[in-house]
């Protein structure tokens, strides 16, 4: 372990984990309300990032008249994503109601392939470096770390927090908080929770279950776009964003499939794991940032398959 880097990597991991937690929340939301594992979520997220980039005039080929400021570009992208969420739910997932898990997983995988191809077709295959970020990547706050006396471990004496990282973390935390408050305290949130408990019971209480499904997909579209924008400000827009977002699946499994706090904790854990391994001295471990979430996932699956906050399922024939 390269202890000198550890505090810095801890902070980085926390910041990255915040974004992952927001992404994981969107997946858990859809799973809870309609029991669909949305493997297309990463691609929805990528699409959201690309849309924002396009609305903000990133393409600049001269043909696009649209060049909105970042805020309005995000709003426009969110609107398109919400529409897309509605469409997916109505056209692709509703005919699949009652089908086995494999069919539904494959449906989302098929959708993800369509998204990938469409994004390639519409926005080009090259990664875009010019995502309109309000911060320059070199700006950073510096926090001094007091030296630890009498220890053999030496830390670097300061931690740098890039403005971009901090901003993404803050936005992710605020968005997650709004999301949870919405779920906990509004009437629609209550209806969604009731639907996730039992579809038929919710229906008998007068809740329009199909509408709740559509709504949850729309909200997932919002969180996907937000997550995409956050990831894009960190790393630029490219098709690889979808693979980055795939890491949210280990996160929700770590937290327990059906729990919102679990998704947040899982996201933070995965973010920490990804960044902490970069402080290792062994070169293989240092390179393993891409697979660290999956190794963590395998360990969890062997030791505690239901996750941290998950309930153990009792099955009957």
């Amino acid at each position: 372990m390269n202890w000198i880097l550890v505090p810095q990597q801890l902070v980085n991991g926390l910041m990255y984990g915040g974004t992952l937690a927001l992404i994981a929340l969107g997946i858990v939301l859809i799973y809870k309300s309609s029991e669909v594992f949305n493997f297309a979520y990463g691609h929805m997220l990528m699409l959201g990032a690309f849309l924002t980039w396009w609305f903000a005039g990133g393409a600049r080929t001269g043909n696009e008249p649209i060049s909105l400021p970042l805020g309005w570009a995000i709003v426009a992208a969110v609107l398109v994503s919400v529409l897309l969420g509605f469409l997916i739910e109505r056209l692709a997932l509703r005919p699949m109601a009652g089908q086995p898990l494999l069919a539904i997983v494959l449906m989302t995988l098929g959708l993800s392939q369509i998204f990938e191809g469409s994004v390639n077709l519409l926005f080009g295959v090259t990664p875009k470096g010019n995502f309109p970020s309000p911060f320059s990547p070199s700006d950073a706050y510096t926090i001094p770390v007091p030296p630890v006396d009498g220890e053999s471990i030496v830390f670097l004496d300061r931690i740098q927090i890039g403005h971009t990282r901090l901003a993404t973390f803050v936005v992710a935390v605020v968005a997650a908080a709004i999301f949870m408050l919405f779920f906990q305290y509004t009437k629609i949130g209550l209806a969604m929770r009731a639907t996730s408990e039992n579809h038929e019971l919710a229906r008998s209480l007068g809740i329009k279950v199909p509408r709740i499904f559509a709504l949850s997909w729309a909200i997932a579209g919002i969180t996907a776009t937000l997550g995409g924008v956050l990831l894009a400000t960190l790393s630029g827009v490219s098709v690889n964003l979808a693979a980055v977002a795939l890491v949210a699946f280990p996160a929700i499994l770590l937290g327990g499939l059906e729990s919102f706090p679990g998704a947040i904790i899982g996201g933070l854990l995965v973010g920490l794991a990804t960044e902490i391994v970069k402080a290792a001295t062994v070169v293989e471990v240092r390179n393993s940032a891409d697979i660290a979430p999956y190794v963590l996932l395998l360990i969890f699956l062997l030791l505690r398959p239901e996750g941290i906050f998950g309930r153990h399922r009792i099955e009957r024939i």
Binding site: L102, L257, L298, E315
Partner: protein, 442 residues
């Protein structure tokens, strides 16, 4: 397993009832099809031969996935990674131990099967989505391992592993004849229940096989293959040599056939392996093992109550799936003369496998064939359409060339899931039934 057959279609013996090929015309049709496919290199275009070979090994991988996902109901997103293991194992065995492919492919498949067992271990405690995630972890971890610089002298690093040297086939005519004769004697002895023929034939078969492969390996170690001229299997000079060997029996010389220029060879190897794996999977699915797997798929708790050992059978399914993936990966590595993440083997391919399976029909033995052929045809169409459109719109050529494959595959998959969730195999059964009932009912 009794299959409903129309009136007038009688079986005269138990063997005929149980046979995979039940009637003589089916046998002739099968032999004709095999001959037609094996000789494709002589009459087909290079791209057609390439696709046929690709289809053959993809179907083998699909059959493995079908056992695991279609029959046992365990979703696996890691089949491409297991193919990667098989390719590496077979290539390493061929390079460092000079093993010929008829030894390196089975050994590589066994190794891959063991790796599959490793990743199947979580299947005892988790299922469904959780298991899909465990196999997704395999799909990320295995390619990552092969790319590590520490193993780059062995595995070739990120560039992939090129120069797999099995470009030649040695044929020892007399030994090969003995081998075939012993095999036939053993098979007939087993079939007619005469143990002396069965075991005697088997013993001769094994001894000759060991001598043959030892000779083959030693030849591979000593002969400089690169300097050898390519030889055609059907060249007249060899026919003469063959007749000389048969008549005098003296010069047991080896023919060394350089195969770089002979795509027939790879195609034949793939097709023969496909035939073997088809027989294997059909027999698995209609035996005790297959019934246990289907019971697990339909209701695992009920299966356990009926005495099916869940863990054991799930692991067996994982082993079979990884084994066949290993065979497919080895075939692919040898015919592409390279293996590594540069060549694909990504998550996208694993998704493609699952998609092919659903399009063909999950849990049917016909499914891998139909799904694989259909998806390869669609992909080929996309690969043709992209450059054609790029000619018309040259400003967007890069986008057009790369984007149609995922779009077409995704669309086909989504449409199949909505309108024909039981796949092409089901449609084929319906067609057959309506053909039988013609002209009365549909």
């Amino acid at each position: 397993m009794a299959v409903l057959r129309p009136a007038g279609d009688f079986d005269r013996s138990y063997e005929q009832d149980m046979g995979i090929v039940r009637q003589r015309w089916q046998l002739f049709l099968l032999l004709g099809a095999i001959l037609l496919a094996c000789s494709a290199a002589f009459w087909g275009e290079a791209r057609f031969v390439f696709n046929l070979n690709r289809l053959a090994y993809l179907i083998i991988a699909l059959q493995g996935l079908n056992i695991l996902t279609g029959y046992t109901g365990q979703i696996s997103l890691g089949q491409a990674a297991f193919m990667l293991v098989g390719g590496y194992a077979s290539g390493l065995l061929a390079i460092h131990l000079s093993l010929p492919i008829y030894l390196s492919i089975p050994l590589a498949a066994l190794i891959t099967g063991c790796v599959g067992l490793l990743f199947g271990l979580p299947s005892l405690r988790v299922k469904g989505f959780y298991l899909a995630m465990a196999t997704l972890a395999a799909q990320f971890i295995i390619p990552w391992l092969t790319r590590q610089p520490r193993f780059s002298t062995w595995l070739g690093g990120t560039k992939g592993f090129i120069d797999i040297p099995t470009t030649f086939l040695t044929v020892f005519p007399l030994l090969l004849l003995i081998l075939i004769a012993a095999g036939i004697v053993a098979y007939v002895g087993w079939y007619t229940q005469r143990p002396q023929f069965q075991w005697g034939g088997l013993a001769v078969f094994l001894i000759t096989g060991v001598i043959y492969s030892a000779w083959d390996i030693s030849l591979r170690r000593t002969v400089n293959i690169a300097g050898l001229p390519p030889t055609d299997l059907f060249a007249a000079g060899h026919l003469k040599a063959f007749i000389t060997v048969l008549t005098t029996g003296v010069p047991m010389r080896a023919w060394i056939i350089s195969l770089r220029e002979l795509p027939t060879y790879y195609l034949s190897v793939s097709l023969i392996t496909l035939l073997l794996s088809t027989i294997l999977t059909i027999n698995i699915t209609r035996s005790r093992l297959g019934r246990a797997l289907i019971a697990i798929r339909d209701n695992d708790l009920a299966a356990e109550l009926l005495g099916v050992n869940l863990f054991q059978y799930k692991l067996r399914a994982f082993f079979i799936a990884a084994f066949l993936a290993g065979v497919a990966g080895a075939l692919r590595a040898h015919s592409e003369r390279g293996v590594g993440t540069e060549f694909g083997y990504s998550l996208r391919e694993s998704i493609l496998f699952l998609g092919m399976l659903v399009i063909g029909g999950l849990g049917t033995n016909l499914g891998p064939y139909l799904g694989g052929a259909f998806v390869i045809a669609v992909e080929d169409f996309a690969l043709w359409l992209g450059p054609e459109l790029a000619l018309i719109f040259p400003t967007r050529s890069a986008e057009l060339q790369s984007s149609f494959r995922p779009i077409f595959f995704g669309l086909v998959l989504v449409l199949f899931l909505i309108f024909e969730p039981r796949g092409l195999a089901h449609r084929w059964m319906l067609l057959k039934a309506s053909w039988r009932l013609r002209p009365f009912a549909r």
